[in-house]
């Protein structure tokens, strides 16, 4: 994990409840505007539904719920960040997409002990940008079914 954090210098950024997040750009397959979701009854709460991505069926996960954040209230439909994993693709639902940013390695810092809850596992640290913090998401853990629900 730490290897990924230190090696990636470009991050695909997005917003969740006003917070600024980043995902290793290498892991991002593509970004999609809102797609029609087919809900999956009886599935874990983080599974928001299924998307047809050019014939491939992609599971959409609610990242807010995954991080223990409040439900989305805005009327603006969520965006999808499609992550490639070994044998399938998973989409993360986020509020808004930002730009791809370059970071300097020296600016990384681990989270304080006061960061608790499900987010602690998923956020290995943050880059101190000039004007704000860029929270890094551990992609593998975020899309892993084992950590789900």
């Amino acid at each position: 994990m730490s290897a990924i954090v230190s090696s990636a210098t470009q991050y695909c950024t997005f917003y969740l409840d006003g917070q600024f997040f980043g995902i290793d750009v290498q892991r991002v397959q593509e970004v999609l505007r809102h797609q029609t979701l087919t809900p999956v009854p009886l599935a874990a709460g983080t599974v928001r539904g299924l998307i047809n991505l050019r014939g491939q069926i992609v599971t959409a996960l609610d990242l807010r719920q995954r991080l223990g954040m409040p439900e989305r209230t805005s009327n603006k439909p969520p965006m999808n960040i499609v992550i490639r994993s070994d044998d399938e693709a998973v989409a993360l639902l986020v509020d808004e997409i930002g730009e791809v940013v370059d970071v300097e390695e020296g600016r990384f810092e681990r989270p304080p002990e006061t960061l608790q809850g499900p987010a602690r596992e998923l956020i290995p640290g943050a880059y101190k940008l000039d004007d704000r913090l860029l929270l890094i998401l551990d992609t593998d853990k975020a899309i892993s079914p084992q950590y789900g629900s």
Binding site: T38, V40, P41, L42, A43, V47, N52, G55, E88, G148
Partner: protein, 772 residues
């Protein structure tokens, strides 16, 4: 990939193919040992392996192949005759070569296993056939020299072939390389007897060359990708077809129609590329059956019908292991030993029939043996012993249900665990694997006559016909295989949906069909239908049970492309996958079995069925009990056979004559710390006793209340359980009647009446005691 790797990989693919053929050839050769074409083919294959691996520097493999080649050449030249031992030795050789090949595939080296024992064994087998013409050493030396030359020739030939073929795409056709190497190699060897058989078969074996000319090897992944793309095309076509209704343009209409036709044909064509004959899986069974039956000293012939029946590649893969297990199981448990078969009036050689055929869009595979069949009673006892079912449940099961118990996890009727089967894993796994690909498996067996396993599987997994329904605002697809019928209830017609203490049911042709609401089972919003709207019931079949699924709407039947669900939904048994509908949206495919479990349909019907069975069984038992009884048969006097109900007997005793004492004018005996009064039955019924005074007294201990009396009879014959047809006695005294038991006329003694006369006190006291 480096060039060397490529060469090795090609060698592996080629050799594997050759070995598969070798397995078949060797077993076939055993039946027809004189077939020189076969022998030559076998020789050629081992020779090619040997030559190539020498070229590639796999010395160990080369050595083993070399010893085998020696043996084969003796066979080919008619110096020795093929025996079972030789066949087994050669098959072992094939295994050893295969083992090394997989080691090479995995690690790049031949592995560390020592094959010197096998080499010695093969050399010994060759010695048996030693002739005067050569000493073995001479032959050995000659062959070594020949092999050396052959090896070089092979190396040169294949190197040349490779260089020449380099620009062409010959790589894609490795089979084509084999004939080039094979005939070229032995030709310059100049060993006696070597020329003619080698040259001849390559010429009179046209099949090999035509096959490699007209077929190419394609990576399955390519086909999978093609299949996916065609699936996409089908969806796009469906979407376009939806527009044709809106756009009035003749050219457009014509184009879409052509698109429609081409897509359909393309879909069929691509599906065909993935189809393989089931014979591909069966091809290894002759050897499996041969090895196993030989190991178990059984005689089994394998007959295969419909080997050309085609199935999707993925399904072929999925049924490979279950089928192998069934075949092994059948040889191990299904067939009796030859002596036992002959004793039972059957042919000493058992017949195992594999049959495959298409029927109704499905493939049927039957595995039929004429062995021992499944003994329902044995299965029952075993299942109870293993705690898989309770004795109570077992007593209610009919023969067919008992036989199907073999599919329970942890079940095995084999008396001893062999290394073949009987380890308690097996038939349940077979069933699970077959059900996983949407198939069913059923077992039919007649004791002593054989067993038939029937497997039904879909032709393909990728595209299936399905019915789409809506519930809670979403669409779901239901595979057509599970669908029985659709019922639409119009308001105000018939009784509609009724309730049994809250459980909804519908009278379908007189039988109550359990119902469940799809919306509710999936935890979605749903409104229970009121009486004034039509209700749609989808009647489904799950595990031989029917239930009705109430949905909001029934849409259409269409071919859908099945796609797997992601890792996040692995635990969901209610869905079998997902598909993309004509409008581009995703719909979930219902897993009818999983849904039935969730809705408790299966356990509910099973219980109900068990109860019904139990009721029928109890009724039949009562019917039988009216006439059947356990009887104790004994003799009094010279001729008379008598019987009394076993239930009235406490014990049977043999008493020494010198232990008899007298009390109150009766014979008594001290028995378990009490005084047991005795009476001679011959005296009581007025028959001349025929007792042997040298033998101990035969006493039936009769118990009533807390008191016992002993009834002395002349001989105890038997305890029987029989249906007794009583005939009224001519002389009614002391008897209930007479019946034919064990083909002898037997009197049924009115034991109570007789004893009442002899021991009046016993009865009066006992009755009081009973009421005290």
């Amino acid at each position: 990939m480096s060039d060397m790797d490529e060469v090795v990989r090609e060698f592996l693919v080629e050799s594997y193919e050759g070995l598969d053929q070798l397995d078949r050839d060797l077993v076939a050769l055993e039946l027809d040992p004189k077939n020189s074409d076969r022998l030559s083919a076998i020789f050629r294959c081992i020779h090619t392996v040997k030559g190539t691996c020498g070229f590639l520097g796999f010395g160990k493999l080369e050595k083993v192949a070399h010893v085998g080649e020696n043996l084969l050449s003796l066979l080919r030249d008619g110096k020795i005759e093929l025996s079972q031992d030789i066949t087994s030795g050669l098959l072992k050789l094939v295994d050893a070569v295969r083992q090394m090949l997989s080691a090479i595939e995995a690690t790049g080296a031949e592995g560390t296993v020592d094959y010197s024992a096998l080499e010695a064994e093969l050399a010994d087998l060759a010695k048996v056939g030693k002739t005067e013409e050569f000493s073995m050493d001479d032959a050995e030396a000659l062959f070594r020299a020949a092999a050396e030359k052959a090896k070089m020739a092979a190396a040169v030939a294949s190197a040349v072939a490779r260089v020449m073929d380099e620009p062409a795409s010959a790589r894609a056709m490795p089979a084509a390389a084999a004939p080039v190497v094979a005939p070229a190699a032995p030709a310059p060897a100049g060993v006696p007897h070597a020329e003619h058989p080698v040259a001849a078969p390559s010429a009179d074996d046209p099949k090999v060359s035509t096959l490699s000319d007209t077929s190419i090897r394609v990576d399955v992944q390519h086909l999978d990708r093609l299949m996916n793309l065609v699936g996409e095309l089908v969806l796009a076509r469906n979407q376009i077809l939806q527009f044709t209704g809106q756009i009035e343009n003749v050219a457009f209409q014509a184009t879409t129609q052509r698109l429609n036709l081409i897509t359909t044909e393309l879909q069929e064509g691509v599906m065909k590329t993935r189809m393989q004959p089931i014979g591909n899986v069966w091809s290894k069974f002759p050897r499996v059956v041969r090895d196993l039956s030989r190991q178990l000293n059984k005689q089994v012939t394998l007959v295969m019908e419909g080997a050309e029946t085609e199935l999707d590649k993925t399904i072929i893969e999925a049924i490979k292991d279950p089928l192998t297990h069934i075949v092994r199981n059948s040889v191990d448990h299904g067939f009796e030993m030859p002596e036992k078969r002959v004793a039972a009036g059957k042919n000493g050689e058992g017949k195992l029939l594999l049959r495959a055929f298409h029927e109704g869009g499905q493939v049927n595979i039957e595995i039929i043996d004429d062995g021992n069949g499944i003994d329902g009673e044995k299965v029952r006892a075993k299942a109870i012993e293993k705690g898989l079912i309770t004795a109570d449940q077992a007593s209610r099961m009919v023969e067919r249900e008992l036989q199907n118990l073999v599919f329970l996890p942890g079940f095995s009727t084999a008396e001893k665990v062999t290394n073949v089967s009987g380890r308690g894993v097996g038939m349940d796994v077979v069933r699970t694997n077959i059900e996983k690909i949407g198939g069913t498996v059923d077992i039919v067996s007649a004791k002593g006559e054989g067993t038939t396993l029937k497997i039904k599987i879909p032709l393909t997994l990728a595209i299936i016909p399905a019915l789409t329904v809506t519930a809670g605002g979403d669409r779901y697809a239901i595979p057509q295989v599970n669908l029985l019928e659709l019922v639409r209830l119009e308001p105000g017609v018939g009784p509609g949906i009724e309730k049994m203490h809250g459980a909804p049911v519908y009278r379908l042709r007189g039988n109550l069909l359990p119902l469940c609401y799809l919306g509710r089972e999936l935890g979605r919003e749903y409104t229970e239908p009121t009486g004034d709207q039509a209700i749609n019931i989808v009647v489904l079949q799950a595990d031989e049970r029917q239930f009705g699924l109430i949905v909001d709407g029934i849409n259409d039947t269409e071919e859908i492309v099945v796609k797997p669900l992601g890792a996040h939904m692995k635990g969901l048994s209610t869905f079998a996958g997902a598909t993309i509908m004509g409008d581009g949206r995703v719909a979930l495919i219902l897993d009818v079995m999983g849904l039935a479990h969730r809705a408790n349909v299966i356990s509910e019907t099973r219980d109900r069925r068990l109860v019904e069975l139990a009721e029928a069984e109890a009724k039949a038992a009562a019917e039988r009990a009216k006439n059947t009884a356990s009887l104790l048969v004994f003799g009094v006097g010279e001729q008379t056979r008598m019987a009394i109900p076993l239930a009235t007997v406490a014990r049977l005793e043999e008493l020494q004559r010198d232990t008899l004492e007298r009390a109150g004018g009766r014979e008594v005996v001290q028995y378990r710390g009490e005084i047991l009064p005795l009476a001679r039955l011959s005296d009581l019924v007025g028959i001349m006793s025929n007792e042997n005074l040298d033998q101990p007294l035969q006493v039936i201990v009769y118990q009533r209340g807390g008191r016992q009396v002993g009834l002395i009879v002349d001989a105890i014959h038997d305890i029987i359980e029989e249906t007794v047809h009583l005939e009224r006695p001519v002389d009614g005294r002391d008897l209930l009647g007479s019946a034919v038991i064990q083909s002898k006329v037997t009197d049924l003694l009115d034991v109570e009446g007789v004893l009442r006369n002899a021991f009046p006190s016993l009865f009066s006291d006992a009755d009081e005691g009973a009421y005290a």
